[in-house]
Symmetry: C2
Subunit: 340 residues, 2 copies
């Protein structure tokens, strides 16, 4: 009997604003018969193990009628949603991947993903280094040791250009990116100030991550857009502003609803660099290898704490995603889809 359950989460309706579990997502109970599946050239089948819950996914769910801020592979209603995660190759007609390989890349929010030959993603899976599994749990390879950590490391080093003695302000500091940026900045000798959305997270930043200062922005300034406005006003000359995400802006219903940043003239008079990026930009560059070397060393030596919450089951993906967009997570949400 080779028929297996292949539950998945499909997009039920394009979200307007922050998505809601029942309104925008639907769990489908499909099956997959791996043995009888006929694979075309270069196709393969993945058994998904860990899925990373990432903010960027929200941008892929925009209603095409909105016609703004497209990013990566856009999802239509009725389609299985796509995210990043770790999987095991269980069937393959692709010479680059053999059965038993552990790979990282764009997978469906589902138990098994049939990677099609006409899908650009066949070219973008990377191998998990099994050697590292002696020192790190597999869940770390779904984000922290890949794009999640790479996002923090590359942007801080390449765009932020941290110098010992400088002060860095980290917003959304209790998320994966923020907590790692703050800790790397501490290693580099900076004074680290973080903001986050609850007092519990402030305690986490101060007591566990050892930030020099932290505050609950909701108590002080009310919105994340306003936080950026005020930060620009307080930048020093030649400040670097690393724009790694704007979760609040991913959820707007129309471009007109976006938060308008009123203090951009500071960029001119203070010679500020305000730069965006995605982790993909750094793949294949030297800094990717430097990241892998440093991050493993820091994790093994305890210089870096990484906080993740592993949640079981495909049926909990949508709730975890919505909770993350509402800022309920401390650290990273990772979904465990199956045992390895």
């Amino acid at each position: 009997m080779t028929v297996k359950s292949n539950k998945g989460v499909i997009l039920k309706a394009y979200p307007k604003g922050i998505p809601e579990v029942d309104e925008n997502f639907e769990l489908t109970h499909r099956t997959i018969d791996i043995e009888c599946l006929n694979l075309k050239e270069n196709e393969f089948v993945l058994r998904n193990l860990y899925l990373s819950i990432d903010p960027y996914v929200r941008v892929t769910l925009h209603d095409p009628a909105l016609n703004f801020m497209k990013h990566g592979k856009m999802i239509s209603t009725g389609q299985v949603i796509s995210g990043l995660g770790v999987s095991e190759v269980v069937k393959t007609n692709n010479p680059n991947y053999k059965v038993g390989d552990l790979v990282y890349g764009p997978i469906g929010w589902e138990e098994y993903s049939h990677i099609k030959s006409d899908d650009a993603s066949v070219f973008s899976f990377m191998f998990v280094n099994k050697e590292l599994l002696k020192d790190t749990p597999l869940s770390y390879h779904a984000s922290f040791l890949r794009f999640g950590g790479l996002t923090s490391y590359t942007s801080l080093i390449d765009i932020g250009k941290p110098k010992e003695g400088e002060t860095i302000y980290v917003s959304t500091a209790a998320g994966l990116t923020g907590q790692l940026v703050g800790q790397i900045a501490k290693i580099k000798g900076l004074r680290v100030v973080g903001s986050t959305g609850s007092d519990e997270k402030v305690d986490f930043l101060l007591n566990e991550l050892k930030f020099d200062a932290a505050f609950n922005y909701k108590k002080l300034i009310l919105t994340s857009g306003k936080t950026l406005e005020v930060a620009l006003e307080h930048c020093n000359r030649f400040a670097r502003v690393v724009a790694c995400g704007m979760i609040s802006q991913y959820n707007i219903k129309t471009p007109e609803e976006g938060y308008g940043i009123k203090t951009l003239a500071n960029i001119v008079v203070k010679s500020i660099v305000f730069q965006g990026f995605i982790a993909l930009d750094y793949i294949g560059k030297d800094i990717e290898k430097e990241f892998e070397k440093d991050i493993i060393e820091w994790v093994k030596s305890g210089k870096i704490i990484y906080k993740e919450t592993v949640i079981d089951g495909v049926e909990n993906i949508a709730k975890a995603f919505v909770d993350m967009l509402n800022g309920k997570n401390i650290g990273k949400y990772v979904i465990k889809i199956a045992d390895y």
Copy 2:
């Protein structure tokens, strides 16, 4: 008789919004007795020849009570306003400057400027290369061949990193900075699209500067802030946005009145660099010398057209400044204060 007229323009009241000539400025009829003036160590006296009318001056006139966007030497009510220009040293107690030297730097909106020893500006005057006066009028040395041109050149090359075949969009394209950026971009093999605020200026861009395309933004999109919003939406991945000035934002009455840019999330998803600078940042760097070499060659060979309007007399400075902020100029306004 060594007493000379030393008319000057003082700040009468902090402007709210775009300044008005009579309300915010006052012409004072002072005199100066150069021979009898007692100069302290390092002081000197300049006979001002040409003054550049620059947008940045607006930022130096902000009411300190506003407490925002301070830039350079702030001017208080009752003080002579400061700008950049070319002058002749007529008396000196500073070993670095001798009588007859032509210098470029921060001077008053006045006929003679007594540069005080406690003024940081004593360190920031540069010499005009008299050799160049065979090929270029002295007025060019008040801005175009100095910070005016340097602004265009350095920002386009260093931040814009132009590549042959790319398209560049230049806003405020008929001002000094814009016209020079567009022409240098043409030399570098780019397709140049410009926007400006009148049909007459559109003709100038198309017919005299040979831009590939140009439009009157007031007819299409209404405000300069909206222009930036739309430009961000249309940027390609890895676009570079060079922020060399935001005149509309220099005239706001309170920070709350600033135009809110709603499309900044494009910076993240498209890996855009949005960078500010001031020409001063590049002084003493290699690129400053490259600019001087290139600009003289381009002007002499006719590869670059430079359009300036020379206006006579200290009494016309305030009107020229207000007209410039209202976008009435085509090309650069330069005030001729005295014959050389």
